[in-house]
């Protein structure tokens, strides 16, 4: 039974809920492959994309998902928004809510913002990335991509490489993978690890990429955020690439059927060499496509899911 109003953290979803999302994403994948990629399903529903920090890919993915479900969307946030003029976020949310918005998609550089929005609106809320906290829709699209490539999560060995400390992607992906039965190794210099990686649920933490690489089924490369370089968590991009970059040289030590994921945008030559990013192992483009399918599924499930008991009985019988 998928009975949720919001998606604020991956913790809200059970293993069954996640499977429900993935199975629905598969339905929407079929729609996205049609010449006419549009469904009338959510005609008359209004979704506000409240993006308070810059985002191209996540926002575009959500907008397409909304449009393909026939929702009306409203883009708030950005440099012209009232928050820039000094309005508090709560006032912005209350104002938009009074315009009868059915759902907020919230992206902000501060952790916990989607929870704050949910506390101040009657609409549904999806966390589209909050500070260093979580990015649950990214985790779900990653799961979908991995599921399609690998067929199952049980015992799957996933390595997440890079800036775990500042990564909201890891914040959602690690618990999500654990929930689905995968084995997660975090690979990062100590300067880019959170204080307690065990809290995320990782099975193993190591600074030595080459020791674990041959065991991995999925190599998930995180983006090095250039704005972090000022904090000097490592000596140079060159040294980072040497120790943690997925280089052509490392290709040989990878499992034959290992795949490469990256949430994008890629810093080619830093965390990921072009040869690897464009290789047949790479599912990075699939991840982007999965994003639209998974977000359509989530919007569909959240906007209808909690409202009708009969539909839930039916879902439960699935």
């Amino acid at each position: 039974m998928f009975n949720h109003k919001h998606l604020l953290t991956i913790d809200d979803l059970s293993r069954e809920d996640i499977m429900c999302v993935l199975e629905h994403a598969q339905m929407f994948e079929e729609v996205n492959n049609r010449p006419i990629k549009k469904l009338p399903t959510l005609r008359g529903k209004t979704i506000c994309n409240l993006f308070l920090e810059p985002s191209t890919r996540t926002r575009g993915s959500f907008e397409l998902a909304e449009k393909r479900l026939s929702c009306d969307s409203l883009n708030a946030g950005g440099s012209a928004s009232s928050t820039v003029k000094g309005e508090s976020l709560i006032d912005t949310v209350k104002t938009l809510t009074s315009m009868k918005v059915d759902m907020f998609i919230v992206r902000h550089k501060y952790a916990g913002t989607p929870a704050l929005v949910a506390q101040n609106t009657t609409a549904s809320v999806i966390d589209a990335g909050d500070g260093k906290h979580e990015h649950p829709t990214q985790a779900l699209l990653d799961l979908y991509t991995i599921w399609k490539a690998k067929g199952s999560f049980d015992g799957l060995k996933v390595g997440i490489v890079g800036d775990i400390a500042h990564s909201r992607v890891a914040g959602s992906l690690v618990p999500a993978l654990k929930k689905m039965g995968a084995e997660v190794t975090l690979i990062a210099p100590a300067t880019l690890l959170p204080a307690r990686p065990d809290v995320l649920g990782a099975d193993r933490v190591t600074p030595h990429f080459d020791e674990v690489l041959p065991d991995l089924d999925v190599v998930y490369m995180l983006r090095i955020q250039m704005e972090r370089i000022e904090e000097a968590p490592f000596p140079s991009l060159r040294e980072y690439n040497l120790l943690y970059g997925l280089t052509e040289a490392r290709d040989k030590s990878m499992k034959e059927d290992a795949i490469i994921c990256h949430p994008g945008p890629i810093n080619r030559g830093v965390e990921l060499d072009s040869y690897m990013a464009d290789s047949s192992r790479s599912v990075i483009v699939d991840q982007v496509f999965s994003g639209v399918c998974v977000r359509m599924a989530l919007i569909y499930l959240l906007l209808g899911g909690a409202q009708n008991e009969v539909s839930h009985k039916k879902c439960a019988s699935n």
Binding site: L8, T9, D11, S88, L89, I90, H108, Y110, A111, G112, T113, A115, L116, Q119, D130, G131, K132, H133, E134, R168, G171, P194, A195, R196, P197, V199, L200
Partner: protein
């Protein structure tokens, strides 16, 4: 004006008093303590079942006045203090302008006198504008009534500057109160570094960021012989450092707050309650236990609230943008009674030491005793009153308490400052 408190259990460990008796107050001082006292022209306060103790003093309170009156004023802050059962508070200097000169000390004292809810013992800044760069006019502030010196809210970052402050303050027989926070380690820290910072995706505020400066300031106290008081201590290691210092005979004292004793990082859940955003942050359950043990064994000298009022619009926002701190002066006694006295961690005598006697010793202000001749700064509480912390029941201008919704047992009913009732039967007078 005379008052006669009847049938009250009077407790004052300083004079080894713990008995049900009557207390007669006349002309601002205690006239008589005894059985079956009578006085025809006195206001009679029958307080059977209640407890009378020397007036509570909170050595760490942000009154926000001058400059930040939208959060709290001296009038509302001291009214809240009276409502919480306090007869004196030590105000912090991080006002606007900073309380770093005699004029602001005068302003604070005059405003407090006018409001007349409780005594205010102002502390002054150690450095001009709390910037850590130049000594404030400490001598002149002492002359005008400053009782202690602190750069609370930030701490003095440079060890060299701190040494200068301590050398200088020592001359006036005053205490330096230290907010321990190494900015290079703490940075933009929001919550305890560890489980909470990882779980919530917030920048960590490491325990070491506090402990390093505790260690430094104890060393500087040894070097300068200036008394040092460690403010709002939060960690097990911090307690050990103070213990070691005391053992070595260094003039170090310390305080803890009810919220650091009772709440921990686990209380900050995915709802991101900004009322639990504190500086220093809520630590671990283990730290709670270490602090409680230290309260019991005497390492902790006093319990203070770090009462930090913030307006609703400042707290109702993104966690990372909300200011640090919570109010506490109206819940302090209830929290201590509920979480320390009731479970048997401490008795009433120890509570009086922690909340009435030791704060006065540290602030070097006159003691109050329940004996004839003493100034009548007194607190009466009902140890059995059950109540729930609500915004409506607060006199403070701000309602940012992390204890909202908590059920407490034990509440101040009356407070008297210099023989004048400031609160009677739970209602603040004036």
């Amino acid at each position: 004006m005379k008052s006669l408190i009847k049938n009250v259990r009077a407790i004052d460990p300083a004079v080894s008093l713990d008995q049900v008796c009557d207390v007669l107050i006349e002309d601002g001082v205690i006239k008589e303590v005894g059985q079956s006292l009578t006085c025809d022209d006195a206001e009679i306060l029958d307080r059977r079942g209640h407890v009378l103790i020397p007036g509570l003093v909170d050595a760490h309170v942000h009154l926000r006045d001058p400059g930040l009156e939208y959060k709290e004023t001296i009038a509302t802050g001291t009214k809240a203090a009276a409502h919480g059962g306090f007869t004196g508070v030590c105000s912090m200097p991080n006002t606007k302008p900073t309380t770093d000169n005699a004029a602001v000390i005068d302003y604070v004292l005059e405003s407090a006198e006018k409001a007349h809810y409780c005594r205010v013992y102002p502390s002054g800044a150690c450095t001009v504008g709390l910037k850590g760069e130049a000594l404030a006019e400490i001598g002149s502030m002492v002359e005008h009534g400053a009782v202690a010196f602190t750069d609370d809210g930030r701490g003095v970052q440079s060890a060299g500057m701190m040494r200068r402050v301590m050398d200088y303050v020592k001359m006036f027989d005053k205490v330096v109160m230290s907010h321990c926070q190494d900015e290079s380690l703490v940075g933009a820290g929001q919550v305890n570094e560890g489980v909470a910072s990882t779980r919530l995706g917030l920048a960590g505020w490491p325990a070491a960021g506090e402990e390093i400066q505790i260690q430094r300031d104890i060393a500087l106290s040894e070097l300068t012989d200036c008394p040092i008081h460690i403010q709002h201590l939060t960690t097990r290691r911090g307690i050990e450092l103070v213990q070691e210092g005391k053992k070595r005979g260094i003039k170090v004292t310390c305080e803890v707050t009810p919220h650091h004793l009772i709440l921990c990082e686990d209380d900050i859940d995915s709802s991101y309650n900004t009322n639990l955003k504190m500086n220093p942050p809520l630590r671990t359950k283990d730290d709670n236990q270490a602090l409680i043990d230290a309260v019991k064994d005497g390492t902790v000298d006093c319990i203070v609230t770090d009462h930090a009022p913030h307006a609703l619009h400042e707290k109702s926002r993104e966690f990372e943008l909300a200011p640090f701190g919570m109010t506490g002066i109206e819940t302090s006694l209830g929290c201590v009674l509920t979480y320390l006295v009731r479970p048997g961690h401490i008795d009433y005598n120890r509570m009086v030491e922690l909340m009435a006697i030791n704060p006065r010793t540290i602030l070097r202000v006159p003691q109050v005793r329940i004996e004839p001749g003493s100034v009548a700064d007194l607190t009466i509480f009902n140890p059995e009153e059950k109540w729930t912390v609500t915004e409506d029941d607060m006199c403070s201008k701000s309602k940012n308490s992390g204890f909202l919704g908590y059920s407490l047992v034990g509440k101040a009913t009356d407070a008297m400052v210099g023989g004048t009732l400031t609160m009677k039967e739970g209602k603040v007078i004036g």
